[in-house]
Every structure is written in structure tokens, then in C-alpha cells.
């Protein structure tokens, strides 16, 4: 045995006396810049090693990311649908005008004076007078009854004054008052506002918007849980590593770091994939939608996710990734006691 020991000394270098660094309980040796660099290196290492681990198990990663990307694209797809519908109803806002159909015996000059009077009303934004001749010309161009109209001896159309009230969509009561007011004036045969169906459309839109928000909320929670579960599995797979790190004095934040980066990557990549899915779907839909819009002579153009929308989409997915893994880690690491 003595022989063995001598061999040992020959193999190894004699040990120099150790100077115990009692300050190393909280901070490591080296100067501040070194420590800063070490800290940066740790983050960089966690950033890239967590990405490397995703690549190392491609099957699992692709499955998880696909599920997340579909959930996120559903949410953002519904969002873009609502944005597009809003554009559609935005075009209809002018429909909230009041049309005053004047009596047959009112002359053009009298009608002009009435229009001027209405223009002075502070609740009115703009007034447009359509004379009998203008009305007829418009009718001929926009309807297919041109020939039939020509057959008539007299112009059957009344003089119309179109009034666009101020804040017509918000101030329902003001609109009603205005309408009543017009109806009482002797020149007006009847006054009409296309409020009701605009209102219905508005409330349908409000429901759709609320539904979109709720759906996004639900899908956001689903994404949170899927990422949390993925991280939990990864934590389980690397249980030994975590325990050993804890045994040699790793803080929870040290142990958490690579997992938080994993969560970030999963969220980030899923966000990018979701953007890709939504954009491809929109490209497929674009032609049929434009064709449909053409049939209705509408100036409707399909809106894609804007640059800001895309940034927000990827940002929110990444944040959900970090949050999902953070919530699981906080819970699991507290449970984990090294054996």
C-alpha cells in the first residue's frame, strides 16, 4: 500500500497550501469586469444551449411548436378577421345619415333655403341637396330602370336633402331629436334614417370583438399551459442535473435560467410559425375575397397582419413562453429537494 502511495505522489503534483477564501460565500473571485463577463457568458450559454436542446430532440420540439403555432394562429386569425370586418363597417358609417324627402310642391329655391337653414344647425355636420333632376340622373346611372324612367312623362322623384348629423353613432338620442325636428317642418314629407340595421351591425361587431378577446384569452392560457407542461417534462428529464447543481450550491435562479430560455425559444418560434400560418391562409383567401368584394362593388381589400401586429404577435408568444416556464419552475423547484 505504501508503494501505491509513492506512485501516487510521483503521478500527481504536491499540493500547495490552500488559502481559504471566506468571502467567496456570496461572490466569486476575480474583479467586477470578470464577473460581469462571466454573467454575460452564462446568459449567452443558456440562450444557445437551450436552443441546441430543442434542436437535439426535433420530434418533440416540432410537435410542441406545431400545437402552439396552431393555437396562436387561431387567435391571431380571429383577430385579423375582426379587423377586416371593422374595415367593412367603417365604410358604412356614412349610412347613418338622415334623408329628408320634401313635398312635391316645394320649389328648388325654397329647398335651397331650407338646406341653408339646416346647415346652420350645430348638430349637423354636412348637408347635401339633391334636386329632382340630379336625383333622376343618379337613378338612371345606378339602377337598371333607366329606360323605364325615360318612358315617364313627369319626374316622379322628390327633392331630397341628405343630412349627416355630428356624432351620429355615439349620440343616439341627439339623432332621434334631430329626426323628430325635421319631421315637424312643413316642407318635409317624411324623414328617414338608416339607423336600425347599422346599429344591429354595430352590435354584431361588438359581440365579435368581445368573442375575439375571449378566444385570445383562452388560447393564451392554453399556450401558457402547453409551454409549462413542456418545461415540466424537460425539468423531469434533467432531474439529475438539477439536483447535482443544487448540491454544489446553485441558486434557484441559476437552475431556472436555461429553462426560462427554453420557454422563450418555444414561444418565439411558435409565434413566428403562427405568423407564417396566418399569412399563408390569408394569401389563399385573398383572391376569393377580392372577387366577392368586386361583386358588391365594394372597395374592400383584405388586410394582412401589419408590421406592428406581427411584432406584437411574436412578442406576446415569447412572453407567454417565459411566463409559462417561470410559473412551472417556481412551483417545481420549491418542491424539489435534493436527495
Amino acid at each position: 500500500m505504501k508503494q501505491g502511495n509513492k506512485n501516487y505522489i510521483r503521478k500527481g503534483r504536491p499540493i500547495k497550501p490552500v488559502r481559504h477564501d471566506t468571502r467567496q460565500t456570496k461572490t466569486a473571485g476575480g474583479n467586477f469586469v470578470d464577473k460581469l463577463h462571466a454573467y454575460r457568458d452564462l446568459h449567452a450559454h443558456a440562450l444557445f444551449s437551450s436552443l441546441g436542446r430543442l434542436v437535439a430532440s426535433p420530434f418533440t420540439s416540432i410537435m410542441t411548436i406545431t400545437v402552439l403555432a396552431i393555437a396562436i394562429s387561431l387567435a391571431s386569425g380571429f383577430y385579423i378577421l375582426v379587423v377586416n370586418l371593422q374595415q367593412l363597417t367603417g365604410n358604412l358609417e356614412t349610412s347613418n345619415q338622415i334623408s329628408l324627402f320634401l313635398r312635391d310642391d316645394v320649389s328648388d329655391a325654397h329647398a335651397n333655403k331650407l338646406a341653408d337653414n339646416i346647415r346652420k344647425n350645430t348638430k349637423v355636420q354636412s348637408v347635401k341637396l339633391i334636386t329632382r333632376e340630379q336625383g333622376l340622373a343618379e337613378f338612371k346611372t345606378y339602377s337598371s330602370f333607366g329606360a323605364a324612367i325615360n318612358a315617364l312623362e313627369t319626374n316622379p322623384l322628390p327633392i331630397v336633402i341628405q343630412v349627416l348629423p355630428k356624432n351620429s353613432l355615439e349620440d343616439k338620442q341627439g339623432l332621434e331629436d334631430l329626426l323628430e325636428n325635421f319631421q315637424r317642418s312643413p316642407e318635409v314629407d317624411f324623414a328617414q334614417v338608416d339607423l336600425q340595421w347599422v346599429e344591429r351591425l354595430q352590435s354584431i361587431m361588438a359581440v365579435a370583438r368581445l368573442f375575439a378577446i375571449l378566444l385570445n384569452l383562452m388560447l393564451g392560457i392554453a399556450v401558457l399551459f402547453v409551454i409549462g407542461n413542456t418545461i415540466r417534462l424537460e425539468l423531469h428529464n434533467r432531474h439529475d442535473e438539477v439536483v447535482i447543481a443544487k448540491l454544489v450550491g446553485a441558486t434557484n435562479s441559476f437552475i431556472q435560467r436555461p429553462f426560462l430560455y427554453s420557454g422563450f425559444w418555444i414561444g418565439f418560434i411558435s409565434g413566428v410559425a403562427a405568423w407564417f400560418i396566418v399569412t399563408v391562409l390569408m394569401l389563399i383567401l385573398r383572391q376569393p375575397v377580392e372577387k366577392l368584394s368586386g361583386l358588391y362593388e365594394g372597395g374592400f381589400h383584405l388586410l394582412f397582419l401589419s408590421f406592428t401586429d406581427t411584432l406584437a404577435l411574436i412578442f406576446i408568444s415569447s412572453v407567454l413562453g417565459v411566463l409559462g416556464s417561470w410559473s412551472v419552475l417556481t412551483y417545481q423547484l420549491r418542491q424539489l429537494k435534493p436527495e
Binding site: G30, K246, L247
Partner: protein, 218 residues
């Protein structure tokens, strides 16, 4: 360096596992912790490594009271000791270098300092040149020496070894014990839990003997 003062550890299920244990290990002292299985050796080690807290009494490590340490302080207390395990507890998917470097990475050393210290530690346990190997490519004795290098790389003032020779043949055990002797000579406190009676009697070190949770000789 390590002081137990009337330490009792009680589990609700089994009652007192340790009862009124008191001893004091001075700086640079080496001691064996022995006793039959179930005598409380592992529990005592778990109290030192802050995996458990004692029910009564006081444990001082380097002047710090472990029983009152906050949860957040525990990692920093663990950095003060090098712990060696019977099953080595090495990361199989990391190289020898990475395994030994782990405590330094955790403590936040720069990579130049890490490389320098890891090489020095591997040199001490005569594993130079095996930095790039994986633990499974090494023999049991070599793996144990990797564990020792990891325990000492941070230059801790105390080394705790739990059955460090349990899986090794007598010659390798002697090598490991010789290594501990060397650390002791440079002022490191060493506590070795072992039931290897022949090894203990061969070496003329202090022996702490536990019997049914009580210290019967120190």
C-alpha cells in the same frame, strides 16, 4: 470549523434519529464518522449539507448557524463545502472538465479562471489529460477522483465524504484516503462517513461513532 451542539433530529414517523449529538471538528482536522447502518450517519451528513434542518440544538459551520440560515442562503453555505458521494453524482452527458467546472460556473467565475482551476484540481487527483472524456469512459476509481476534483475545485474549507470508498477495491480506497490526508495537511477539514472498519483502523484518525442516534465515541 464544524461544531455540533446538542443536535437532535426527529422525524414524525420514526422518532429521534439523532439525539443530543455534540462534537467539534477544528480547522485542518480529519475524522471518520462511523456506526451501523441506520445509526444516523446519513442524517448527520444531510444536516451538514443543509438538506435537512435539525429539530433541536445548533450546528455551526465556519461560525455560521445552519439552523437559522434562510432558504436563500443555503446555496451559498453549500459552496463552502466540497461534498463527495458514494455514487459520485457526476453528469454523464458532460465531460470531465465540465463536471469539475460546475461549482465554479455556478459561483460565477470567468472562463479563464475556471480553466486554470479545473486543470489544477484534475492535476491534484492525477486525472490530467482526461478533461475531454465522459464519466462512463472512466473506471470507478477515476470517476470517484472526478467527484473529488469537483469537491475541491472551489477550495472549500471543509470536505464531506459519504462512503467515498464504498465501491472501490482496497488499493483504490487507499489512494483516495491518501488524497484526503493531503487535503488535511493544507488546512482543510475532512469528515468521512464510512463503515469500512479495516480502513478506519489502518489510519490513525479521529473516529466519531454513532449508535442508535447517539454519539458513543469521539
Amino acid at each position: 470549523m464544524l461544531k455540533f451542539d446538542n443536535v437532535t433530529k426527529r422525524y414524525p414517523e420514526t422518532g429521534d434519529v439523532l439525539r443530543n449529538v455534540s462534537f467539534h471538528l477544528r480547522r485542518g482536522e480529519i475524522a471518520f464518522l462511523t456506526g451501523h447502518s441506520g445509526a444516523g450517519k446519513s442524517t448527520l451528513l444531510r444536516l451538514i449539507t443543509t438538506m435537512e434542518r435539525c429539530s433541536r440544538g445548533q450546528i455551526l459551520l465556519d461560525g455560521q448557524d445552519l439552523s437559522y440560515a434562510k432558504e436563500k442562503q443555503l446555496p451559498f453555505i453549500r459552496r463552502k463545502m466540497g461534498v463527495i458521494y458514494q455514487d459520485y453524482k457526476l453528469l454523464q452527458d458532460r465531460t470531465v472538465f465540465d463536471n469539475v467546472a460546475l461549482p465554479l460556473v455556478i459561483a460565477g467565475y470567468g472562463h479563464h479562471e475556471i480553466a486554470r482551476r479545473v486543470r489544477a484540481a484534475l492535476d491534484k487527483v492525477s486525472l490530467s489529460g482526461k478533461e475531454k472524456k465522459y464519466p462512463l469512459a472512466l473506471s470507478g476509481g477515476e470517476q470517484q477522483r472526478v467527484g473529488i476534483a469537483r469537491a475541491v475545485v472551489n477550495k472549500p474549507p471543509i470536505i464531506i465524504a459519504d462512503e467515498p470508498t464504498g465501491n472501490l477495491d482496497p488499493e483504490l480506497s487507499a489512494e483516495i484516503m491518501f488524497l484526503f490526508g493531503q487535503f488535511q495537511q493544507v488546512g482543510v477539514t475532512v469528515l468521512i462517513a464510512s463503515h469500512d472498519i479495516s480502513l478506519i483502523t489502518q489510519l490513525n484518525h479521529r473516529v466519531l461513532k454513532l449508535d442508535h442516534g447517539q454519539l458513543v465515541s469521539s
